[in-house]
Every structure is written in C-alpha cells, then in structure tokens.
Symmetry: C2
Subunit: 332 residues, 2 copies
C-alpha cells in the first residue's frame, strides 16, 4: 500500500476541525506531499494548504485525491461519488481512510479500471500477513504507547522521527493508522488486520534494519482500553520495542468513549507496557513521557511536565508545546 | 453462523491423528450430531464414528458435510473438490475450518447455488461485529485461559459445561475456534475477527443472560504468546469473566511453535490474567487449574495436580483423567 504524492486533500463541506484530522495530519507533517486542499461551499475549516480546484491540481501534477474527512461511522456518502469520479478522470488515484470501502462502489471500480487509476482503502489492508515469530531482528525500535486512545501517539512518533533525522540519526516513522499512513505514504492500519496476524503485521511493518537505525512506531489504543487493548498488545509484542514513550492527555475524566471507565495512571501504564514488552524484548525501557497539554495553560503545562519528570525520573514534555529534545537526548 | 446437524465427518486419507482434531472434537463432544465418518483409501486414523458413504449418509439425513481434517497451512487441496461437489449434490451444506475459503472456489460457489446449499467457512466470520462497550451485562461467565496455545482450553470448557448441566446449572459452551464451533454448532473464530472488534465479538458471543446462567467460554492463545496474546487479551476483556480456569500442559519445554520462548509459570499466568480481567470485571477470580497430564504417568499426574492445588490453594485436575468436579464445586 503505497500512496503516490503529491496529494490533493478533499475536505468536502466539513465544519468540524476534528473531522478533517486525516487531511490536517498530512498538511502538518508532510506539507511537501500536499499540493492543496479542495473544498466545497459551506466548508468552514481548513488544512492551511492553498485552495485549488481538481482541474488545476491535476495540471500541477496531483497524483492522489485524498478523502481527508470523516463522519462518525466512517461512511462514504454517495453524494461524493461524482466528485471522486471527476478526480479519477483527472488522473488521480483515490485514497480513503473511511470504514466504507471505495471498492464496494461498482461505479468507482469500473471508472478506476477505465482510467487506469487505483482505489486505495487505507483502513483495509490487502497484504497477506504472516503469523509472528517473536524472533529478534536487527535495528532499533521505539513505540509510542498511551494511557488512552487519541492522546497524541502519532504526533509524538512523528515529532521524534523528525527530531532524530534532524540530528542525522537514521530513523523511519512507521504508520499504524490511517492518518499516519497518509503522512508516511505507506503503513498498516493495524486495527484492521485479522487478529491472528496483529503481531505478525507489526513485525513486518518494522523489519530488520541497520543496527543504528530507529523505527519510530505509531502506537494504537491502550492496554487499559476495554475495546482496543488486544490491538495494543499485539502491536507491542510484534514491535519488540527497545524504547517506549508513554503518551498521556491531560483533562480527561474517563477512557475515550467509555464514561464508566476511569483513565489508568501513568505508573500503571508504564508497568503494564514494560511487563508485556519484555516478553519479546527483555531490554525494553521507557525513555520519556509525552503529555498532550492542550486542555491547560502554558504555565500549568510546564508545571505538570516538571512534576511528572520528577515523579518518574524521565524526561516529560508536550511534543507540540515543548518539543521532544529532552526525550531524544535520553533515548540517544 | 449456524451449522445444521447431523454431520458427516470427512477425514480424507489422513494418517496423523492430530490432523483430524476438528472431526474428533465433534465426535468426542457432540456424538449425537455425528452421523458417521467418510474416509478414503489410505486413511489410517478414525474418529470412532461409524464409517459410511456419502450416499448412505444422505439417505440417513446428514445435513452437513464437514471437512474434518487439516494440513499445515490450512490449504484446501483441489483434489477434494469432486468429493465436495458430490456431497453438495447429495443435499448437504459444506463446512470447512481451513484457512482457504470454500467460497474462493468458483466451481463450489456455483454448484452450491445450483443445489441451494451453503458453503460455511467457520474460520471466516461473516457477521458484522461491533466495537466493545465494556458495559456490564447480566449472567455469569467463565473463561478458560492458558499458559500456552493448545493446552486443553476447549476440552476444559466443554467438560465444565457438561458437568454444570449435569448438576442442572444453566450453562452454555461458547465456541471461539473452529473445533469448538463444530461441537457447538455455532460460535465465532475469534482469531479471524478484525482486530478492532476482538472484544466486541467476545461481548456479542456471551450476551446478557439469566443471572444464574453461566457462559463457559473457550479461550484462545495465551497472554504470554508473542504471536497471539492480542487475541487472548481482547477475548479476556470482552468476556468479562467472573471466573477463570487456568489451563496448562505438562512436559513442554517452550511456547508452541517458538523454541526460543520459554513457558510462563502458572503463577505469572494467574497474575497477568487477573490484572487484565479486573479491568472489565473487578470481581474476576481464578476458580481452578486444569492440567493436561497426557505426557506423564497416572501416578505423576495425580502428584503434580496435588502439588499445584496446595501451591495455589485452588482445585487442580486433568479434566480428561480426573474430571472437573473439584473445579465445579469451587465455582458454585
């Protein structure tokens, strides 16, 4: 699954900034891949990319038309089909991170065949995965894990990769969700893999590499999430991380989507993750804590990070507000 | 996914008793569903069911033709297609637990349509599962968990269900693997579910029930297995077990299929399973230890079970050799 840049980011008539997370992730982290955004009347949000039409984007060489928005349920509304067909006709592959598959729409399949373009459903892996072997492989790996879903694991992994590369350390971001896949141009939507192959897919995603190369792997879910912990555990075992960064979001009263489940503590999250990580990598350790402090003031953010750093004797920072220098220092 | 009895168990020309595990499981635990076995020249093993031809079985009312054997890889050899078509023509659904899907063979699909019979790939769930909610539901649940794969979790769960029913306790076996599904006539091959839905599928498999009803759920894998722990964890969270039975096989030097991974201790297995089980059911407890003692003498088996019972202050028995009375006593 390889997505060809440059992308035209289609954000439809979105009005909720959260609904265009996928498009914004690409614009934030791979601006060089994003030619522009295509928006419709009524749209009140933006990726920050230049606004451009399908025709103009095609002339400028756009290769992939990205459905960069999502509604709850991940459905593909038939109202978008004419737009998608226009993009196919303009010579672009279509990329979707929705639950509904592009390939389930016969009119899209036939048009894509006709014009020789691809329909890429990045949430639906088409690769055949292998069962994990648990065998040690060369190279180093870092996995971002979390107290909960949507606490900033992808942003943390991307920030770490960028910081490592800026220091001339060989490092590759490994995407495990649809936004990350769009940023990287490839990856595996790990929560969409058949469960027998979670760990095997994770092994394949971060294969043997140079001994001084870091794979920085986007985490998924949380070992304390009643719905998704299996995904998190399989990803942890298959990634065989040498280093873990624990990600946490301030200001949450409960697990995402589950009001009756309290958040786990950072200490418990460290314990659980190390216990399990050491099954496939006895040397696994936590190298830092990344806190999403967007719900509090700048001053409070610094105070919280300082308190956590002292409590756990680990570098602690908000990757967006403070950067990840301290964590990278500790890693290296 | 509902399999209609009676079954005709097809064991081909198998020579390895382990390769007909699926057929033998049905013969052992649901003999009333098994009309007979159909075997070919060269076959040296048996389910113990009467040998019968396809034609005779059809006359006696066989409703499902079960591919009761497996080769490594789970491939469906084209050499069996004529036999399968004969069974379709004789009026039977076809049931397969192989990785290769019956529905991937166009000649089977067209013949099944023609005669109005079903192709049932029990390893490939067709249901649409929901994401787990973690919400508490009525009824009681027991989950068989293990130190490793293939240690006797299915046999233990079946033995417990039978013993509970014999004491007039309402109890239902819930199958999570292909052999169990064949025994029960329904269930979900949990390791074949998309990983986002492992826990949700487990919730759906053991739905709300009478407050004095026990779902006895077949476990899968092990929290200490580098390839399959994610499946085990998702199943554990979704099952919300009130009671766990820890299953263990004597005489193994390493995890199944992974010579470089030692077996976890029973104590560690209890700890890990209780830690995670209590996320979705704070009252979860271990009610017994089931030991597969087939690798040792009768005398040694008794000695081991007695030693473990004392060490863990829990009833401990080999369900096949000693029955599960002590565990059921403790459960009730």
């Amino acid at each position: 699954m390889l997505i060809t840049p440059p992308y035209l980011l289609f954000i439809g008539n979105a009005t909720d900034p959260l609904s265009i997370k996928m498009a914004r992730s690409a614009a934030d982290w791979s601006p060089e891949k994003c030619l522009g955004e295509y928006r419709l009347d009524g749209c009140t949000v933006t990726t920050g990319c230049p606004v451009i039409s399908i025709e103009a984007a095609a002339r400028e060489g756009a290769k992939s038309f990205v459905l960069g928005f999502a509604n709850s349920g991940g459905h593909l509304s038939p109202e978008w089909l004419p737009t998608i067909i226009t993009a196919l006709d303009a010579g672009m592959d279509i990329v979707s991170g929705l639950h509904d598959k592009l390939t389930d729409f016969p009119e899209l399949v036939s048009q894509a065949e006709k014009v020789g373009k691809r329909l890429i459903d990045i949430r639906h892996p088409t690769a055949r995965f292998k069962t994990a072997t648990g065998g040690k492989r060369a190279g180093k790996r870092l996995l971002a894990v979390g107290t909960d879903c949507s606490v900033g694991k992808m942003y943390t992994a991307l920030a770490l990769t960028k910081a490592l590369n800026q220091r001339d350390v060989k490092a590759t971001f490994r995407a495990t969700g649809q936004s990350g896949i769009l940023v990287a141009g490839n990856g595996v939507a790990i929560d969409c893999v058949i469960s027998d192959f979670i760990s095997g897919a994770a092994e394949g995603l971060s294969p043997a590499n140079d001994s001084d190369h870091w794979d920085v792997i986007e985490g998924q879910g949380s070992l304390s999430h009643p719905a998704f912990a299996g995904v998190s555990l399989g990803l942890l075992h298959g990634s065989q991380p040498d280093a873990l960064v624990v990600c946490h979001a301030l200001g949450r009263s409960h697990m995402r989507g589950l009001p009756h489940y309290p958040q786990p503590s950072i200490a418990h999250t460290i314990d659980l993750n190390l216990t399990h990580a050491r099954l496939t990598n006895p040397d696994a350790k936590v190298v830092g804590i990344a806190v999403n402090t967007s719900s509090v003031s700048e001053q409070e953010a610094l105070a919280v990070c300082q308190r956590l750093a002292e409590e756990f004797q680990l570098p602690c920072a908000d990757p967006i507000r403070h950067g990840v220098k301290a964590i990278v220092d500790n890693l290296l």
